[in-house]
Structures are given as C-alpha cells and as structure tokens.
Amino acid sequence: MRFTLINNLQKDSTMSLILKGLLVFMLLFLLSDILVMKSSFGISAQTINTTLFGDEEAYIDPISESSFLEFWHTQIFFIMMTLLTLSAIFIRVAKRSRTLFTNIVMTSAIISLVSLPLGFYMSKFFIDIYIWTYFIWHTIALYMIFYSFWKLNAKSV
C-alpha cells in the first residue's frame, strides 16, 4: 500500500483524493451491508433465528448447511479485506487512538464471525453475541471512515 509510505498525505493531493474516494465506497459498502442483511439474513435475534432454523408456523424452511457455510465463507473474506484496508488508512491518519480503535473493530468483527457458526451449530445464545458485535464493528468502522475523511481534509497528517 503505497500511501503508507508517503510522508504528508495532505500535501499529496492525488493520493489524498484516491483515499477519500475509497472511503466513500467503504461507507456505501457498510451501509448497504446493513440494508442487505436486514432484508435477507436478518439483523435481529428473531429474524436471524428464523433464517437459520426456520419457522413452522410461518412455513419458512431453515437455511441449508451448505448455504450457511457459503454465506459465512463469503462474509469472512469481505470483512477481512474491508477492515484491513480501512485500518491501514486509519493508522496512517490517526495518531493517539489508532491502536485502541483498530483493536476494537478487529476484535468485535472476529467475535461476530466466530459466534455465527457457534450460533448455528451449538446454541442460540451466540446469535445475541453475533448481533451485538456486528453492530459494534459497523459503528466503529463508520467512525473510522468519518475520522479518516476529516483528517485527510485537515491541514497536515
């Protein structure tokens, strides 16, 4: 990542603009992710439980193991790539809080991804952990995007 080697990002208007463009796309990705999850997989305990285990009264079949594994596999890849890129930008522009926020966003995303199969194979209790950590990492990632955007517009980075 070339931008990690540039001394003053603000002075490098081309790289700064490219990074701002990337941040806009990341913002759109995170917001769209929430909307898509809401309409397909669910973002509340009740809707996620219905997707995973079905609902006899509403005649909804549970998700197949194969579909679940494919969904989980895809989620891991997209989240890891998004957060690696975002944290690389954030670390470059933030000074004091970078370690703290990187730790929170990464840890909560990993817990969320681990609790998803645990909820499917072991106990519904992990679904609640999945939802909490899902929203924690999304909130922190959104903050990191806005902070990085603001810092890239500041006088000196």
Partner: protein, 148 residues
C-alpha cells in the same frame, strides 16, 4: 514496520485462519476428502443420485475464486516484503509454489470432468498443499512480527 501496522497484519492473519477453517468445512461438507468423493462430486453418481458437474457450472463457481485467490495470496505474500525474508531465495520458491498450488486447486475440476480421473488426487493434494503453504506463510509472518 510501525507497531500499529503489525497489529493490523496480526488481525489479518486471524481472519485468514477463519477463512481457511470455513474453506475446509465447506470442502468437507460439499465434496469430501477422499478421492472417490471428489470423483463423485464432479463426475456424478447414479447410485447416490449425484448429478455430474458441467464445465459451465464449474466455471461459474471458479470465477470469483480466481480473483479472490489472487488477491488473497498477493496481500498475504506482500507482507513478507516488509520482513527480513524479502532477500531470501526460499521466499521466491514459496511465492511460486503458492501461486502454482492455487492454480492447480482451481483448475483441476476441468480435467476431472474431461475424463482424467487422476486429477482427483491432484485436486486433493493441491488443496492441502495450498493450505499448508498458507499456514507456513502465517507462521513466517507471525514470527517476524513478534520476534523481529
């Protein structure tokens, strides 16, 4: 390398471990780890009512993996450039082997459905060889980050 970047790479390795775990589970669930299971999955089995895979179907499945494998390997291997291993000849061999096993893993199904059953062995071998190489790279990066 800055401490914060080391942290970011360590988390990337953790995510990658999760990705590998999910890949192994998916492979085990959909295909299986024996040569017969690999052949049945691609060529089909009348007894077990498994339909044969077509080249079109395989290409559809392979398409995102071509891009994802390339990107994933590139990101992982480029971290080695920031370590002392950059100047070692063995690193070049590691890079070649990783890309070659990934290519074999992706494209062997086309040979299997073309009638070359032997490629079922290569499919399994390349899958485990690729995972072993990735885990070895994890270890190299982890050691460099923690001890250097």
């Amino acid at each position: 390398m800055q401490k914060a970047y080391k942290l970011s790479i360590l988390y990337y390795l953790l995510f990658s471990l999760l990705l590998i775990t999910s890949a192994v589970m998916l492979f085990e669930h959909k295909i299986g780890f024996s040569v017969n299971q690999v052949l049945e999955y691609y060529i089909g089995s009348e007894e077990k009512f498994i339909p044969a895979k077509s080249a079109k179907g395989i290409l559809k499945l392979v398409l995102p993996h071509i891009f994802v494998f390339g990107l994933f390997i590139m990101v992982l291997l480029h971290f080695l450039v920031f370590t002392r291993l950059r100047y070692k000849k063995s690193t070049l061999t590691l890079i070649y082997l990783t890309f070659i096993t990934a290519l074999l893993e992706i494209f062997t199904p086309f040979m299997i459905i073309s009638g070359f059953s032997f490629f079922a062995y290569i499919k399994l071998f390349s899958f485990f060889a690729f995972l072993s190489l990735i885990l070895y790279i994890f270890w190299l990066l982890f050691r460099s980050i923690v001890y250097e």
